[in-house]
């Protein structure tokens, strides 16, 4: 019996993984070969999907970018023994693309069967939780504080402080909420983790619950992620059966449960307070802070609300120690950042590396430049509210403070590459259009400002009093940044102002017309 591994991650499915599966089954049957096919998540090299792997005495041998049409030829070449074929890439972990990463959070993703708790434990899963219950809640909080772990959703708030605040708040009931409303374009790390290693998220939430004394967890997943929802739902059920959830977890007297909730297509629900309102069954409206969710969050109770990657970092920190985590990274950005290379990039996917690497190295060495082969002109980091960087800012290190100093933000680690055909005025207009479509409407700067911004860019591009409207646009951006209630309105000026600053020629309709 030969074990064959094929991802069932949405990105692999989108590139025909199920057709490859059918072809492998058909070919094996015809040839009388005994194969056991394991559906995994993705290792993150989306450019290599569908990535078929075969277990051999030399390790798992990969075949990248396999189509159903390749399968008869692969069998002819002796794929089940790791035979030579133009699509053979050898052992995936030996490729520089993987070998140069530091995989902590994504160590198992793409390797294990995501829904096998035995596989999870066999690959080191559960060690963090076991250590946590052996040292007690207070020591767990100390670990998280000392690790320097910061919220991976975008704001970069120290997770340990948030956890400690919730732990110190007295209440009859506390909650752990996982923000899996990963709406930023160019990001897919949360999706990939939930589809590829869902028990890690469960373990992270249990550790958080144990540390702060919460009894109930919620995972709020966006509806645009049907595959992640299915995998996560199945994983929660199996975690109950496997003793990772329920009563007396990991030999302690701690009880914790997780329920999964599905969003309904509102980007603003990725904002933590809007998400809490949505979980309560309301419109996803942003709340004014204070009170902080850690003191009065879901249903008015102390709530730790963290991004998927923040919670999923906790098991590694507990298993290996805060010092080992804090050794990685730079300045106040410690540990690893799963960077997502997206858009017009030749070798896109997820790259987990310590903070501090340069953007250019990522785009050139990992990304292999643009998919179109044309020069890189602009890179948007941190989702739709992130700044557009021109080529000469690409040496900015991946570090919260360095990005902020350069007028940008790291956000959730999404890197969207554009080639030289991009029209930056259109990108700036889209930033306003997106804000107008997704604003919750609670505060005026965001609700009205987005619409006015769109109109003002249209007037500039239509050559109606361009200079006056440029001044108006600057004013409007300043007002939105200063007076909006949350990051949606407050950061929408980021892409607009960076486009104006770094790509002024794109906002000169007269010059374009004269060309």
């Amino acid at each position: 019996m030969t074990r064959v591994f094929l991802p069932a991650d949405a990105a692999a499915l989108a590139l025909g993984a199920d057709a490859v599966l059918a072809a492998v089954e058909r070919e094996a049957r015809t040839r009388g070969s005994a194969v056991e096919i394991v559906r995994t998540g993705t290792r993150g090299a989306c450019w290599l999907e569908p990535l078929l792997e075969v277990e051999t005495p030399e390790g798992r041998i990969g075949y990248g970018g396999v189509t159903a049409g390749d399968v008869p030829g692969l069998f002819e070449a002796g794929v089940l023994g790791g035979g030579r074929h133009p699509k053979r890439i050898g052992r995936p972990e030996d490729l520089p693309w993987f070998a140069h990463q530091t995989r902590l959070t994504f160590a198992r993703c793409g390797i294990v069967d995501p829904l096998s708790i035995e596989d999870y434990r066999a690959h080191g899963g559960g060690a963090g939780l076991a250590h946590a219950v052996s040292i007690g809640p207070e020591a767990v909080l100390t670990h998280i504080v000392e690790s320097g772990l910061r919220g991976r959703g975008g704001a970069g708030f120290p997770a340990g402080i948030k956890w400690r605040t919730a732990a110190r708040s007295d209440a009859d009931r506390k909650y752990i909420v996982c923000n899996a409303d990963e709406g930023d374009s160019g990001t897919f790390a949360d999706r990939m983790l939930m589809e590829g290693d869902p028990f890690l998220l469960v373990e992270g939430m249990v550790i958080a619950g144990y540390a702060v004394g919460a009894s109930q967890g919620y995972v709020y997943i966006r509806s645009e992620y049907p595959h992640a929802i299915r995998t996560m739902r199945a994983a929660i059920a199996r975690a109950h059966a496997g003793g990772l959830l329920g009563a007396d977890i990991a030999g302690s007297d701690f009880a914790f449960d997780i329920a999964l909730r599905v969003g309904a297509g509102a980007y603003i629900c990725g904002e933590e307070t809007a998400l809490l309102d949505s979980l309560e069954g309301k419109r996803g409206m942003v709340r004014a802070k204070p009170p902080l969710p850690a003191m009065q969050g879901l249903f008015g109770r102390p709530t730790v609300i963290n991004n998927v990657l923040t919670l999923a970092a906790a098991p590694w920190i507990l298993a290996h120690g805060a010092a080992a985590y804090a050794e990685l990274g730079t300045g106040r950005s410690l540990g690893t950042l799963p960077v997502q290379l997206a858009g017009n990039v030749a070798r896109g996917g997820l790259v987990e590396i310590p903070f501090g690497a340069g953007l250019r190295a990522l785009i050139e060495e990992w990304g292999g430049g643009t998919a179109s082969g044309r020069p890189v002109r602009a890179v948007q980091v941190g989702g739709p509210l992130g700044a557009y960087f021109p080529a000469d800012l690409l040496d900015t290190p991946l570090d919260y403070e360095a990005f902020s100093a350069a007028g940008g933000m790291l956000g959730h680690g999404g890197v969207v590459v554009f080639d030289d055909t991009v029209d930056m005025a259109a990108q700036a207009r889209f930033a306003f259009e997106f804000c107008a479509a997704e604003s919750c409407g609670k505060c005026t700067p965001c609700r009205v400002g987005a619409v006015r911004g769109m109109e003002t860019i249209d007037r500039i591009m239509g050559r109606a009093e361009a200079a006056k409207n440029r001044a108006l646009l600057d004013d409007l951006c300043e007002l939105m940044a200063d007076a909006s209630l949350c990051a949606m309105g407050g950061l929408t000026p980021n892409p607009v102002i960076s486009a104006l600053r770094h790509f002024p020629d794109d906002f000169q309709p007269a010059a374009q017309a004269a060309e």
């Binding site: 989108a14 374009s185 069954g281 309301k282």
Partner: protein, 172 residues
């Protein structure tokens, strides 16, 4: 056209009564999800899954069961892009409009598709076969442009691949 007449229209006339089968579906969904904390979104998802939409007449029974006002329920239905008051076409294509897909030509791709089908965003083809909705990111950003057709993901789409997909959907 008196103002009182208009008001009467919008209060009574716009809400067609629920067929018995639909009422039974709604009851079942409420029985399954109604007692959860903050149950409204799970209930609305359940109703939409069963009926294809959340008909205006469903608002009152949901509000009654969850002890909410009808205004609260309607406010939630109208807030979220996913919830619809009328059923979509037999197939639903969600085409990504966000930045990573834009970087790979999604704007032109969308223009091409909508022109070819003769519809706007959110519109349904005349034969009722296909509804095309915009979506802001499917998390398939390293393999753009991307779409979901009836929940199935597709990536690295170009005009020809998208046309083929739509033809297949329209024929089915």
């Amino acid at each position: 056209m008196s103002s009182t007449g208009q008001r009467a229209d919008s209060e009574a006339g716009a809400t067609a009564p629920l067929p018995a089968a639909h009422a039974a579906h709604i009851e079942a969904v409420i029985a399954a999800h109604g007692s959860a904390e903050g149950a409204l979104l799970p209930v609305l998802h359940g109703v939409q899954e069963a009926l294809g939409c959340i008909p205006p007449a469903a608002v009152a029974p949901i509000a009654d069961a969850l002890n909410l006002s009808r205004a609260e329920v309607k406010g939630v239905v109208s807030f979220y892009h996913d919830f619809r008051e009328t059923p979509p076409g037999r197939h639903v294509l969600k085409l990504c409009r966000a930045e990573a897909c834009q970087a790979m030509g999604a704007r032109k791709l969308a223009e091409h598709l909508l022109r070819r089908l003769g519809i706007e965003w959110g519109g349904t083809t005349a034969n009722g076969a296909l509804t095309v909705e915009p979506v802001f990111c499917l998390g398939l950003c390293a393999t753009s442009p991307a779409a979901l057709l009836d929940g199935q993901p597709f990536a690295r789409l170009d005009a020809a691949a998208l046309d083929a997909l739509c033809e297949q959907a329209k024929a089915a």
